[in-house]
Amino acid sequence: MKTMNKRNLILNIVVIAALIGFIIWAEESRSFGAYNQRIFKTCCIYAICALSMNMVNGFTGLFSLGQPGFMAIGAYVTAFLTVSAQDKISIYKIVPISEGMANLHLPFFAALILGGIIAAVFAFLIGFPVLRLRGDYLAIATLGFSEIIRIFITNAQGITNGPTGINRIPNTYMNLYVVCGILALIMIFILAMMKTSYGRALLAIREDEVAAEAMGINLFKHKMLAFVLSGFFAGIGGGLLASLVGAIGPDQFKFTVAYEILLMVVLGGQGSVSGCVAGAFVVRIALEKLRFLDEPIDFGFIQYKGIGGMRMVVFSVLLMLVIILWRKGIFGSKEFSWDRFFGFFAKFKKSPKKEVIE
C-alpha cells in the first residue's frame, strides 16, 4: 500500500512536471504554432465551462443548462471593461456610448473577476425561483434564462452594442500561462472543495435528496452554493473566451453552447473534475478536426459541396450516441487515479488466468 502511494506520488509529480514542461514549450517554441496554441487555449477555457456545469449537474445532481447565459455575462463585463475608451466610442456606432460609460475601465484581471462575480450574482438571483424546480423543469428554466440574457444583450444597444457586439478586446494576457494557470486554480479549488464537508453535502444531495434533507442538509442553501460557484466559473470562462477571440456578439452565446458543454461533461464523466477537462479537450479538438465537414471536399469521384452546419449535425449525433450508449463517460463519476489506470490494463492481463483458477 505504502509503495503504491509512493508510486502514485512520483507519477503525479512526473505528469505535472511534464505538463508544465509542455505548456512552456507550447508557449515559447515556434514549432507548436499559433493555431495549435489557440486550440489549446480554447480547450482550457471550455474545460472551465465544463467544470462550471459539472458543479451543478455532476456533483449536485441537478440539471442546469444556464452556462451560455453566465458565460455571456462574464464575456460582456470583461469585454466592456477592458476595451479602451476611444475604441468603445468608435465601436458603438448605432447607439453611441455615453462618455461616462466609455471611460469605465479596469485592468484585465480585475475585469475578469468582476465578470465572474456579476455572473455569480445573477446565479444567486435566478437561483431563488429556479432551484426549487426539479429535474427537467430546472433545465428548461435555466435554458430560458440563457436566452433571456442573449435577447437582453441583443437589445441593450447602449451597453452591449446590440447584435454587432464588441470587438477590439485586448488579448494582452491571453498566453498559455494565464489560461492554464486559471484552469489549474479552478481545478484545485474544486478538488479541495469536494474533500470538505460542503463537497460531501453536494454529493449527498445528488445521491438522495430526501435522505440528505433528513440528515440535516439544507437543500436550498447547498444547491445555491453549487449554482453560484457554477455561475462564477462560467463567468470567468466567458471573460477568457471574449479576450481570446477578441470580438463577441450575442450569437456566440446561443443555447447550443450549453449542449456542447453538456457533451463535454457527459463524455468526460459527470462528477469527475479530470473527466470534465478530458471531455472538454476531446470535444473541442474533435470539433476542430470536423471542420472539414462544413467545407467542400473533393473525393475525386464525388464532389462533397460542404454543408454549413454539417459539423453540428455530426456533433449532435455524437452527443446522442454518448448519452444512449455510454452515460458514464470516460471517467465515470470518479477522479483519474493511477490505481484505476493500471487496474484497467491489469484486467486484460489477468482475465485469462482467472478463468483457469475458476
Binding site: 472543495m193 464537508s197 449527498a204 445521491e207 438522495d208 435522505a211 434533507e213 433528513a214 440535516g216
Partner: protein, 259 residues
C-alpha cells in the same frame, strides 16, 4: 414533565384519503415506543409528518414542548430528530464512512473557504468529524467496511449503516422505520439488544415502526396501534397483546398469514 415528542390531533389527507387521523402520541424521554399496524395504516406517514416531509393538514407536533410542524426536514434534524427509512435510502455510490460523515455536516462550524483552504480550525474540525464517524462505525460494527461503497454492503449491514448515519446527526429522538425488515429471528433478537444498547449509550429516545411482534413486545415501553390512520389502541405490551380490537385488526391477520 412534558413528553419529548407529542402529537396533538395530527391529521393528514391525501385527496380523499385520510392517511393519518387525529394522531395523539406522546413519547417520554428515554423510552422506546413502537407504532404497529397493518400495511397502509399510516405508520410511515406519521414518521414523515414528524420529520417534516409532510405538513399536517391539522394538528400540532411538539418536540420538548416546542412546535415543529411547518419546519423543514433539515431544521427538524438540527433540532434533534433523526430517522431511518423503510426502503433503505443510503447515499449509494458513496463509501460507508462518507455516508456517516455527511450526517455530521449539520453541526459544521467551519465556513466553505476556511475548509477549502484547510485552515487550522477547519482541519481540526474535519479530523473530529472523522473520529466521531469512525467511532459510530465501530459502535455499529461497521468500521471494517468503512471504505466500502454503501450499496455493496449486504442488506442487514445497510440497515445498520442507516442507524449509524442517523446517530451521526447527534439526535435526541431516533425514529426507526421497520429496522428488522428482512431479518431472521436471530438477527432481530440481536437488533433488539442493539437498539437498547444505543439508547443507553447515546441517551436516546426511540420511536419505532415494526412488524416483528417478538421484537416489539420485547423492547417497547409503550405501543400505539394504527389502523386506517386511526389509533385503535395504546398501552404497554401486555395490554396490547390482550386487546381484542388489536388481535382482530392486526395480530389476527398475522396469525392468518402464519397459518
Amino acid at each position: 414533565m412534558a413528553a419529548l415528542l407529542e402529537t396533538r390531533d395530527v391529521t393528514i389527507r391525501f385527496g380523499g384519503l385520510v392517511a393519518v387521523n387525529l394522531l395523539n402520541i406522546s413519547v417520554d424521554k428515554g423510552d422506546i415506543v413502537a407504532i404497529i399496524g397493518p400495511n397502509g395504516a399510516g405508520k410511515t406517514t406519521a414518521f414523515n409528518l414528524i420529520t417534516g416531509v409532510y405538513k399536517p393538514t391539522e394538528g400540532d407536533i411538539l418536540l420538548n414542548g416546542e412546535k415543529i410542524n411547518g419546519k423543514r426536514p433539515d431544521e427538524i434534524a438540527k433540532m434533534g430528530i433523526a430517522r431511518t427509512f423503510q426502503n433503505i435510502r443510503l447515499f449509494k455510490e458513496l463509501t460507508v464512512l462518507e455516508n456517516v460523515l455527511i450526517a455530521t455536516h449539520l453541526n459544521v462550524k467551519t465556513g466553505l473557504f476556511s475548509a477549502v483552504l484547510k485552515l487550522p480550525h477547519a482541519r481540526k474540525e474535519e479530523k473530529e468529524m472523522r473520529k466521531f464517524a469512525e467511532f459510530l462505525l465501530e459502535e455499529t460494527g461497521l468500521l471494517q467496511f468503512k471504505d466500502e461503497i454503501a450499496s455493496n454492503l449486504p442488506y442487514g449491514l445497510q440497515r445498520r449503516l442507516e442507524i449509524a448515519r442517523a446517530l451521526a446527526t447527534k439526535p435526541r429522538l431516533l425514529l426507526l422505520d421497520e429496522p428488522a425488515a428482512g431479518m431472521n429471528p436471530k438477527e432481530s433478537e440481536d437488533l433488539t439488544e442493539f437498539i437498547r444498547e444505543i439508547r443507553d449509550k447515546f441517551g436516546l429516545t426511540v420511536l419505532l415502526i415494526e412488524h416483528h411482534m417478538q421484537l416489539v413486545m420485547d423492547i417497547s415501553d409503550k405501543i400505539y396501534v394504527l389502523e386506517y390512520g386511526r389509533t385503535i389502541a395504546k398501552g404497554v405490551p401486555a395490554e396490547i397483546q390482550a386487546n381484542p380490537a388489536v388481535i382482530k385488526a392486526y395480530l389476527g391477520e398475522e396469525d392468518d398469514k402464519d397459518a
